[in-house]
Amino acid sequence: MTHFTITSAPADHGITLYTLRNAHDMRVVISDRGATLISWWAPDRYGREADVLLGYPDCDGYLANPAFFGGVIGRWGNRIANGRFTLDGVDYQIDRNEGDNHLHGGKGGFHLMPWQVQTDPEGLRMTLASPDGAAGFPGNVLASVLYRLDDDGQLRIDYTATTDAPTPINLTSHGYFNLNGGAGDICDHILSIDADAYLQVDRRLIPEKAANVAGSAFDFRQPAPIGPRLAWPDEQLSVAGGFDHCYCLRRENDVVEEPGRKVQPLRDVATVYDPGSGRELTVSTTENGLQFYSGNFLKGVQGRAMQPYAIHDGFCLEAQAYPDQVNTPEREAVILRPGQVYRQTTAYRLSVRK
């Protein structure tokens, strides 16, 4: 059961901030610009509160949001090689906004759009109409996210989308976490990911092939600290300047059948524990992919503290389809067709290990 209150407050640039508050006074602040996670106030082992999300000092930062702080990413989260794909025999060229790659929905991605807040007894629901041709994608897409915060500290994000013409779709949430609330970087955080394989990337950061994690710096099947793993000699870490790779999450046998689509049941896929604060983040999702990003490009980004962020000051765990999947044999799984409903659920739960 979700028991929480929602309050709203106007901010600059016509942006409204919504606060979800649970019975233990945990608070999640969400902006209607990009349906963006702004702050998540959570207690540490000693009951002391801190904001565990990275973000800009004011609304201005979110108008361009070059770091993609906290936003809902769409219509395509992650990369598409050369911004090209073929759908039902038609070639498409979409926005290229990272060298030759398409990244995170292009120049007018979902994270920059004003979303409409809908009255919903279940939680904070926001919708976005993405017109045919937006960023070069075909079809009018109607996307919706529902944010709920329960008394166990779980923030559940339910995404749905429909379309009037076939289109690739891959939505995700791009929150940057730092479980110590910014007292230090995330190198001492201890990560585990339930995945036997990850996607190795080329110089463009486009996946080349799946590789077994065994014996490599990427093996988080048993919990391991992030910092020392960054120090392991590994070619893939050098290519990406750290972790910026998609894990192939272990799949359950009992898939949930949807019209024309199959999804995984919601299951726990990753945990991150910060020994200093005692905070622990548990990620669960219906998706097959989990992008682990170790904040490799944070240096110099001005956040809410006096000092700008430094490298590895935050991490992202983005549940999604595989990067560039639209150009792989598994492409059909990421195509949404008229009459189908895209559904994705990802939940982040914050707790404390005493």
């Binding site: 014996g215 048993q222 392991w232």
Partner: protein, 417 residues
């Protein structure tokens, strides 16, 4: 056709009588199971390290604990790939030269303990170290870390090394420890450089009637289950990242066996966690009667004590004690005793294959039925259900620490030199 992988002969030079070394070996074992790398491991039968003749050993590689300078010297003339494991040093010049080194981050171990004591509300701090010796340079490094933190925060810290442990000097050692603790401002938070050291000090405090954690909040390093079992007040401790150190060392050596060279690679592994138990659960509490009563309850709750006995120990009437408890804690003496028993039972139930009936007895419940009733009332489940819930919900790290060294038994094959 399956290719038979090359078998490498690897020596592990560790002192497996210490939890630190054992967990590193477990990490090496875990790495080997996950990769199916084929290593014939050379280890002494008692898992102790003997260096005689190591330079003539016909093998392919070595992982060794470099905390002991003798190991460092003995391996100086060895031309095989060697990965060193040990404590971190504040001064880069103190590391062995031209050898990859995987270290436990001594500064972060002490800092985690210190941050915890600060959060517990303490303002005075001390460090219980060891007499300076070549074999425990890590203890000096932890002292240095403590000093650096004190200096950073402008606090006058207290460091005591005491004497080495030996049976004939034991009584004197304990007396000196008591004298030292008595001389310190109170309340004080003390970081011991190991759990073994913390256990000695805890025992000294209990002998001298110094309340832990009210007067002295104590935390060790190692999270050694043995030290926990041997203390009446459960000992808080910082957990080292030893398993990850083992995996890292194995990974480096694995690469070196295939030609990679990492002469200048130094990987520092942060602590894996902190196990906060009663010895450091300091709460600013003013009234000495309550403090003394808590001290008594903590030690004897599981032996079936009643409010009468607590009042007797404090030396005031039962009704006065109840009044102080209500005022300071908002609960009765009986509630407090029960809370300790319940906590103890919960801890024991988390251990695999524990028996509910035995736990009821050892936690001072008069019957299994009574423990059932208390669990139902306080937690809404039976002890059995609680046990199952814990077994199912265990976060990965806890699950890992519970089934230590999954692979070691299966992999290790001892050979003679």
């Amino acid at each position: 056709m399956t290719r038979v992988p090359t078998v490498h002969r690897i020596a592990l030079l560790f002192n497996g009588n210490k939890i630190f070394d054992r967990d590193i070996i477990a990490g090496i074992g875990e790495y080997l199971t996950s990769t199916r790398a084929s290593w014939d491991l050379y280890l002494e039968e008692d898992f102790r390290c003997r260096l005689q003749g190591i330079e003539r050993w016909q093998g392919h590689g070595i992982i060794a604990d470099f905390d002991d300078p003798a190991t460092c010297e003995a391996l100086a003339g060895v031309h095989l790939p060697v990965v060193a494991v040990g404590g971190s040093y504040a001064d880069a010049a103190d590391y062995p030269q031209a050898i990859p080194y995987v270290a436990t981050d001594n500064f972060k171990l002490v800092k985690l303990a210190y941050d915890h004591l600060i959060e517990a509300g303490l303002q005075n701090f001390a460090c219980f170290s060891l007499p300076k010796a070549d074999v425990n340079r890590w203890a000096q490094e932890r002292e240095k870390a403590f000093e650096a933190l004190m200096q950073r925060d402008g606090i006058q810290g207290h460091i005591y090394r005491g004497v080495g442990t030996s049976a004939p000097s034991w009584d004197t050692a304990v007396e000196q420890q008591i004298a030292w603790v008595r001389s310190l401002p109170k309340p004080i938070g003390i970081i011991a450089v190991t759990d073994a050291r913390a256990r000695q000090l805890l025992q000294a405090c209990l002998c001298a009637g110094i309340a832990v954690p009210e007067q002295v909040a104590l935390i060790g390093i190692d999270n050694d289950p043995l030290a926990r079992i041997l203390t009446r007040v459960p000992l808080s401790s910082v957990i080292q990242g030893t398993v990850e150190m083992g995996r890292t060392a194995a990974h480096l050596l694995h690469q070196m066996l295939h030609g990679a060279r990492f002469a200048d690679t130094r990987i520092l592994v942060p602590p894996a966690g902190i196990n906060v138990l009663a010895s450091s659960r300091h709460e600013a509490r003013n009234h000495p009667h309550v403090m003394q009563a808590m001290h008594f309850i903590r030690q004897y709750a599981c032996q079936g004590i009643k409010t009468e006995q607590v009042a007797d120990y404090v030396g005031i009437s039962r009704s006065s004690l109840e009044w102080y408890f209500r005022r300071e804690l908002g609960r009765s003496v009986h509630d407090e005793i029960l809370r300790f028993k319940l906590d103890a039972a919960k801890r024991l139930l988390q251990q695999a294959d524990s028996n509910v009936a035995d736990i009821a007895v050892s936690c001072g419940f008069t019957s299994v039925q009574y423990m059932h009733a208390v669990f139902k009332r306080e937690l809404g489940c039976t002890p059995r259900e609680y046990q199952e819930q814990m077994a199912g919900d265990a976060p990965p790290a806890v699950a890992l620490s519970r089934k230590k060294s999954p692979a070691v038994g299966a992999i290790l094959r001892e050979h003679n030199v």
